[in-house]
């Protein structure tokens, strides 16, 4: 081979550098936003800058964070699951009923509830993948019916769970760190690994980015979609169990609107709502940013209604910035 014919394609690296720089800018920008908000609250909000309060922030977002890892994968796979809140509530209710009315010991009840949640998720995914019903519609149906079922089973009243040892999982702590926070961080590691280092995780990116190419390359597109919904079902249910432990009851009205908190964190974290792109680290930052804002504003005595407005503004601004950074990097 003569050196003359060796034409390197790398002269295009300026463009390439710009794009990977854009990815870095996006995450660095988000990290910067987290730091700026942190500094502002540290200077202005009373009692914000304490270790106890940091843990409170993480504790408050732990249940959302747990679901957000699965939601990140799901959205990267170009799907959506809006049934999170009702699935969480139903899990807490089912656990309480199994334990108090049927006398099922807590560990077995937990296992059964986790199985139920995974099965329901897989079922939703099956309908999505094999009957080609849009995931928004499938999970909308689940969203309304499973909340209804939770109310029906409890007559709308919370069912107390009287087990002191069970309370450890939602309310206890190890070395001063709340258990849900530890679970959230452990699962973050697991899902970071899945998204970056497993065949399944990378296949999710392929399915979300170009489903036809994935199918033609022999990737089992439908099976991956089913598993994705199984994962969010499992994580939502786990979140519901921790909630029941924390509150000491199964509550059919719990976790109202949680699906949108979770989706908001994922989107603020830079995951593309149309699929194919996103990172776990971005979602972690999104979860922390939204949690910190709520916490800081409460400490400053700002009305919860104003918090809602501010959260909306932040979601919009974050998505606008992501879109602009991406557009600049493509052209």
């Amino acid at each position: 081979m003569s050196t003359e014919t060796k034409i390197s394609v790398t002269p295009n690296t300026p463009q390439l550098l710009r794009t990977s720089a854009a990815n870095r800018i996006r995450e660095a920008g988000l990290l910067g936003a987290v730091i700026v908000v942190f500094i502002i609250f540290s200077l202005t909000a009373p009692n914000f800058f304490t270790i106890g309060n940091f843990l409170d922030v993480l504790h408050a977002v732990a249940l959302q964070g747990i679901v957000a890892w699965g939601m990140t994968l799901l959205i990267i796979g170009a799907e959506i699951d809006i049934s999170v809140g009702p699935v969480v509530a139903f899990a807490s209710v089912l656990l309480a009923i199994l334990n108090t009315q049927f006398g099922v010991p807590i560990p077995i009840a937990v296992l059964l509830v986790l199985l139920e949640g995974t099965a329901v998720g897989l079922g939703a995914g099956f309908i999505r993948a094999y009957f080609n019903v849009p995931s928004f519609i499938v999970t909308l149906a689940l969203w309304t019916s499973i909340r209804g079922l939770a109310y029906l089973m409890t007559n709308g009243l919370p069912i107390p769970i009287s087990s002191a040892s069970f309370q450890f999982w939602g309310g206890g702590s190890i070395a001063g760190i709340p258990v849900p926070v530890i679970i959230m961080l452990l699962l973050f590691g697991v899902f970071w690994f899945i998204s970056q280092r497993t065949v399944f995780g990378r296949s999710v990116f392929a399915v979300g980015g170009n489903a036809d190419a994935a199918r033609l390359s022999g990737i089992p597109v439908s099976r991956i979609r089913v598993i994705l919904f199984g994962i969010t079902g499992l994580l939502s249910t786990l979140s519901g169990i921790l909630l029941a432990s924390w509150l000491g009851s199964g509550n059919p009205g719990a976790a109202t609107g949680m699906e949108f908190d979770v989706i908001a964190a994922v989107i603020v974290g830079g995951t593309d709502l149309f699929g194919g792109r996103g990172t776990m680290f971005g979602t972690l930052l999104g979860v922390i940013l939204i949690g910190m804002l709520a916490n800081g504003l409460i400490l400053m005595g700002v009305s919860p209604y104003v918090q809602d407005i501010l959260r909306g503004v932040i979601i919009l601004v974050a998505v606008l910035i992501n879109t602009l950074v991406r557009r600049r990097s493509i052209t």
Partner: protein, 520 residues
């Protein structure tokens, strides 16, 4: 053992591999689509290491043949053989398993994955932890595939950040990974710059030298003469001939493509006005258009001939302000238009029918009468409130004038045939009282009878003073309908003939380029 390594190659593939084995062969293959026989008892074969160019006008059957070879279409009769053994492809995956890799014009790249993951798509190596991905092996194999044909791509980069040419190289690398032994390239160079084309050509030559059979669908004679050993020309679903690429001229190829018919222009020649109505000067658009200048006269039908990727659509889009050119001016009625935009051009009386009729031409779920009013609502409304009567009258008038076969003005456009949909899109601009029409492939996907109707409609319109810029990839159609033909080649105007001085084969040969085109 990788067949690419196994067979090796000493030369650079410039010599046809005379004693090589036939890799793929179709025998007596026919394929009937509703209303058209796409393949008529076709015999076709390619040897290992051979680069075969496949040419033919639209509808000649080359894309059907490619689809049969790549498993996307099953023939009605005939047989398919690989290395002498008969095979059946029921889907594209079957073909891939037999070593047939196809790079389509719509590339199958996952933008969010790295280049290495894209190259290895569907063949990711597993690590020791169950379900985990062995990234080291992944990158090593991808690097190996690139090394196979001496190519340098940034393996760690997100594929989305690369250029179209690099995407094509990823697809070719994927074929190497899949141990492809036949690579089908469908008009691979139509959207590439000259430098990128050279790069692609080099890789194709290298792959051929390693024993991979290549089918190269293209009409760019320069490229064909550079890399192909042999040329197969198709016409009307049949293989006309397979000839050596070295000895044949563009004109001979063109003769085979158009055959004996179509020598006589069907419609009478006309003399059009000398009044310039639309004037384009020095239009330049990065690598797509170079110094395009021409005038459109009142009542003239000006054809634009050119291959896919020659810049024909870009000219239209620059005129309408949908793409901003690097430089150049557009003047309407002698007045230069500052920063053209769709709204501005419509107010100046210019309408455009897009190539992608369904995607950009009409709103499928709206009724025919509403679609017919889409470009000129203000003619049917007062103070923003639509007059149902005016809408209805307009629809009745146009349905009669354009003989649109719609049961009533109420039916949705998506229920009409392609030809009638096209008439609605043209009618939309007539409602807006334009006097210049830019038509981009107006007869694409339209049956023969409707084509004739559209031709006569266009000629009627021009008789009544409409000036028309007519883009088509079907050269014989331009030759029959237009008063003058501009020929484009790689973004340049290479010919501008009144129809009286043009011949169909000259226009085609100019558009296809290559050597021996300036001999007439």
């Amino acid at each position: 053992m990788d067949p690419l390594i196994e067979q090796g190659g000493d030369g650079l593939g410039t010599r046809p591999p005379a004693e090589a084995e036939v890799f793929i062969r179709v025998e007596n293959v026919s394929k009937q689509y509703p209303g058209v026989l796409a393949l008529r008892q076709v015999d076709f074969s390619v040897k290992a290491g051979e680069v075969r160019a496949l040419l033919g006008a639209n509808g000649a059957g080359k894309s059907t043949l490619v689809k049969v070879l790549s498993g996307a279409v099953q023939p009605d009769s005939g047989s398919l053989h690989i290395n002498g053994a008969q095979v059946h492809f029921t889907n594209p995956t079957d073909a891939i398993k037999h070593g047939v890799a196809t790079v389509y014009q719509e590339l199958s790249i996952v933008p969010g994955l790295t280049v290495a993951e894209n190259i290895m798509l569907g063949q990711w190596p597993h690590g020791t932890v169950p379900g985990s991905l062995d990234r080291r092996a992944l990158f090593q194999k991808a690097r190996q595939a690139l090394k196979e044909f001496d190519l340098d791509l940034p393996l760690e980069a997100e594929a989305g950040s690369l250029t179209l040419a690099q995407w094509q190289l990823i697809e070719i690398a994927r074929a190497v990974v899949h141990q492809g032994r036949l690579l089908i390239l469908d008009e691979p160079t139509s959207s590439l710059s000259a430098r990128e084309v050279r790069l692609l050509m080099d890789r194709v030559r290298l792959l051929a030298a390693k024993g991979v059979a290549i089918i190269f669908v293209s009409h760019r004679m320069q490229e064909i003469q550079q890399i192909a050993h042999s040329i197969t020309v198709m016409r009307d679903g049949s293989v006309i001939d397979t000839v050596s690429a070295k000895s044949v001229t563009t004109h001979q190829i063109v003769e085979m493509m158009i055959g004996e018919q179509q020598r006589v222009r069907l419609s009478a020649q006309r003399t059009s006005s000398a009044e310039v109505i639309l004037s384009v000067r020095h239009l330049t658009l990065s690598s797509r258009l170079q110094d395009i200048s021409f005038d459109l006269h009142r009542g003239e039908i000006l054809g634009v001939a050119g291959l896919l990727g020659s810049g024909r659509t870009e000219i239209l889009r620059c005129i309408m302000g949908m793409i901003r050119p690097d430089s150049g001016t557009v003047a309407v009625n002698g007045t230069s238009v500052h920063r053209p935009s769709l709204g501005k051009m419509r107010r100046l009386g210019i309408g455009m029918t897009p190539e992608d009729r369904r995607g950009e031409g009409f709103v499928p779920f709206l009724s025919t009468k509403e679609n017919l009013a889409l470009a000129g609502w203000r003619y049917f409304a007062r103070g923003g409130i639509i007059s149902k009567q005016a809408l209805q009258d307009n629809a009745h008038d146009l349905i009669a004038r354009l003989s649109i076969a719609a049961a009533s003005p109420q039916v949705s456009v998506s229920t009409l045939s392609g030809g009638n949909q096209q008439k609605v899109v043209i009618g939309k601009w007539l409602s807006a009282h334009v006097h210049i029409l830019l038509l981009d492939e107006p007869t694409r996907g339209v049956d023969v009878q409707a084509k004739e109707q559209i031709y006569s409609l266009i000629q009627d319109l021009s008789m009544n003073g409409m000036s028309i810029l007519y883009i088509s990839s079907e050269m014989d159609e331009l030759w029959n309908v237009c008063d003058r033909i501009l020929t484009l080649n790689m973004g340049r105007i290479v010919g501008d003939f009144p129809i009286a001085e043009a011949t169909l084969s000259n226009v085609m040969a100019l558009a296809m380029g290559g050597m021996n085109t300036n001999e007439y």
